[in-house]
Structure formats: structure tokens, C-alpha cells
Amino acid sequence: MSYTKLTRDELAKRIAEDIAEGSYVNLGIGMPTLVGNHLPKDREIFLHSENGILGMGPAPVKGAEDWDLINAGKEPVTLLTGGAYFHHTDSFAMMRGGHLDIAVLGAFQVSVTGDLANWHTGGDAIPAVGGAMDLAVGAKNVWVMMEHLTKSGESKIVERCTYPLTGIGVVKRIYTDLAVIDVTPRGLVASRSISGISFDELQRLTGVPLLPSGARAAA
């Protein structure tokens, strides 16, 4: 069988469709911001930005940028009707205090027990953490959005992270361009794969043990 990996937008759409009406959601910088473009129009979903916004809206039309209204990636955004501004300490109380339902974060690696490495590649890079560690420990559900494999073909889902950790045992679900994988007490469960890829092929590419989706119901 042949398969085609999901594009970034297809992956963003898959994640967006899994976000329930009424959820308070933080989208991490980088790839996760794409999820905001695919939120179902018939659901009210509250986007939170660490720099003090709830009810964040899409990017403004060209020429209408307001540089006092930016997202975590420092890009101009808008505020939905009913949205609110607040200061940083309140914003991180929302994040750390368990008030956010979902944080969608990028990652370099996720371990079989849900350890997350997404802030630093180590070595010579300038270290920069931002709000990643606060989201990792604070959101009720940490979902990772990433490519399944590195550019050189290695699995980003690993037995133990080799990059510096952001949080320990924090990831609940991994969305990749090949599959959706739940981190459960029994291990990683491949709950949904893209069409055309067999479980055996997914297992071969992933390198660490996966359980088939039926295992979740039995768990």
C-alpha cells in the first residue's frame, strides 16, 4: 500500500476538528499557529495568548496591523468581540493553574512516557524557553503537533528524549503527519493513522513500541 503524509495544513485541520466547542486553547509558536486557521466555524473556541489575550482572532487585513496587539510569536493579530486583555501574571495563572483545556505545542522529541523536548536543541544554540515549560505543566491536555520523522528519517517519538526536557510526563496526545498517538499508562496507542499506512509500517518507522487502536478501549 502507498500513503502520502499529511501536509501541515491537513494536520492542522485534523487537530482543529478535535477541539470541542467552548475549549480554552493555547497554540504554541511555529507550526501550531496553523491550527487557528482551521477551527470549525460553527464552534466558539477561545484562543489564549500568553502575552495577555483571550478571544484572540485571526491576523488583521494588510494595512490594519496594530503592533500593540500581537501574539506569542510577536505577529499582529485581532481580538474577537467579547475578547479580553490582561497582564502577564494573570495570563500565566491561566496557563499554570490548569485553566486551559488544551495546549498545542511543537516538539523536537516526545518520549514513550510523554516527556516533552521542545525548547532547546542544546549545544551552541541560544537557549530560549518563553512560556513552553509553563504550558507543559499547566494545560489540562498537552497535544504535540510535529512531523513524525526528522529530516534524516529518525523517529521523533523516542524511548528517552536526548534533547533538553521541557516537562516530564506531560504529553497526552501526539499528532503527526502519519498518525494520532495517545500517551496512555499502558504505552503509546496509535489511535488513528493516515489512510494507506499499515500498523506494521507505522510501527517500523516509529521505532518504539506502539499498541493498535483497539488497545485503548481495553485499557
Binding site: 511555529g30 500593540d68 510577536k74 497582564h87 532547546h120 499547566g138 526536557l165
Partner: protein, 243 residues
């Protein structure tokens, strides 16, 4: 009559001393008190510890202060900006010290300083490189890290308008660290675009009450609105600018 309004940026900063810890508001380009930072460069204080979420971008604000050689140490959460080359060069040359703090911990450490809290336990950073050497404790089955307050000698914040008692309101996400930093320093200086009469700010909506403010200085609005940061976006997880 209490009047915290000072006539000039120079007057606002006259007593800043070498070796001070200075809390500088702003997140990316929003809420950065650029006029106060520029005036601080002119004022000449050196050997400073700067607390800011970022480490400056381009050659304005904190980056300009770094370039002028006035900064001994930066305490921040995210020094890696697409246009953060001034910090990067100084850091790689060992000319500026970096204390990297998770953003929520940075904010809460200043809140603790302003609120008279001795120290606090947070789950953030447990088990990571940023918790190395710190005391930890299990509370309700969850691992926590002990963090200490972060006090400023001076805080520089940007607000939208203020009155002579120092009451402030901010604008949109430019509020960010302003209210917390205002509470955490011995001397807090606010730059505002408008000074209004007492009573003109709705008491229900004042964000920073004047007790936290030492001085207020009016600055002119920039032509064309807020400065568009040149390449001041954050690099995303992919290493590219977030899109």
C-alpha cells in the same frame, strides 16, 4: 498636592545608579518603554542588570542599551529573536551574562517581589535544566521547584494614559509585564502618551493604582503609530520565523 508627573525623561531617570537592577516592560515590541530606555542610555548608568522578557531586537530599546555596553546581565525568558543579533554577539563573546527563566516564573517572581512573598513553589521547570541546583518539594503528589522573588531597583513601564497620582491604564497586549513590574521595584517610572485630570480614569478600570508608581512622564506619540519591529518576530519551533 501630590504630583508624580515629571517634566522630562532626563528628570525621570536622574537618580538611576550604576549596578542597578532595572525591570523593563514589554513583550517583543509591544509595551516596550522605548523613550525611557533611550533616555537611560543618555543618562549613562552602567553595569546594569536588565530584566525583560526578551533581549532586544534590531538596535532599539534593550538592544540599544546592550550595544552601548551598559548591561552586565540579562534576566529573560526568550533572548532568541529573529533580529536579536546584538544580544547574540555579546553573549557569544562572553560580554553579557544570561539568566534564563521560564516566562511564567519570571512574571511570578516579580509578582512575589511586589507582593512581599518570601519565595514560592512552582511545578514549572521541574526535572529540566532550568531547575538544576534548586530546592524541590512534592506537594499534593506533584513535583515543585522553589523560586525566589525578583526585585528591581527601578522599573520602566509603558502605559497609555495616567494621572498625577500615578494611576495607569494600558493599551491592548502592550499591558503585558507592566502592572507586575510596576509593583516589584523601589522606583517605578511610567511613560504615557496622555496625562489626564484626576477622576478622568474610571476607577473601576484603573489597571495599575498609583501606589505602585513613583513618576509619570509624558512622551509624544510616534508618527504613524507604534513602531513596527524590524524582523522582531520569534523564531518558531522549526527554527524559522513563526508564520
Amino acid at each position: 498636592m501630590i504630583d508624580k508627573i515629571v517634566p522630562s525623561l532626563e528628570a525621570a531617570l536622574a537618580d538611576v545608579r550604576d549596578g542597578s537592577t532595572i525591570l523593563v516592560g514589554g513583550f517583543g515590541g509591544a509595551g516596550v518603554p522605548e523613550e525611557l530606555v533611550d533616555a537611560l542610555i543618555a543618562q549613562g548608568a552602567k553595569d546594569l542588570t536588565i530584566v525583560n522578557n526578551n533581549a532586544g531586537n534590531g538596535e532599539v530599546g534593550v538592544a540599544a542599551l546592550l550595544k552601548a555596553g551598559r548591561v552586565r546581565k540579562i534576566v529573560c525568558s526568550y533572548p532568541r529573536l529573529a533580529d536579536g543579533y546584538v544580544f547574540e554577539a555579546l553573549y557569544r563573546a562572553g560580554k553579557v551574562e544570561l539568566e534564563l527563566v521560564p516566562q511564567g516564573t519570571l512574571s511570578e517572581r516579580m509578582r512575589a517581589a511586589g507582593a512581599g512573598i518570601g519565595a514560592f513553589y512552582t511545578p514549572t521547570s521541574y526535572g529540566t535544566d532550568l531547575a538544576k541546583g534548586k530546592e524541590t518539594r512534592v506537594i499534593d503528589g506533584k513535583h515543585h521547584v522553589l523560586e525566589h522573588p525578583l526585585h528591581g531597583d527601578v522599573a520602566l513601564v509603558k502605559a497609555e494614559r495616567g494621572d498625577r497620582w500615578g494611576n495607569l491604564v494600558y493599551r491592548k497586549s502592550a499591558r503585558n509585564f507592566g502592572p507586575t513590574m510596576a509593583s516589584a521595584a523601589k522606583c517605578t517610572i511610567a511613560q504615557v502618551y496622555e496625562i489626564v485630570e484626576l477622576g478622568a480614569l474610571d476607577p473601576e478600570c484603573i489597571v495599575t493604582p498609583g501606589i505602585f508608581i513613583t513618576r509619570v512622564v509624558k512622551v509624544p506619540r510616534k508618527a504613524g503609530g507604534n513602531r513596527v519591529p524590524a524582523g522582531g518576530v520569534t523564531r518558531g519551533i522549526s527554527g524559522r520565523a513563526a508564520v
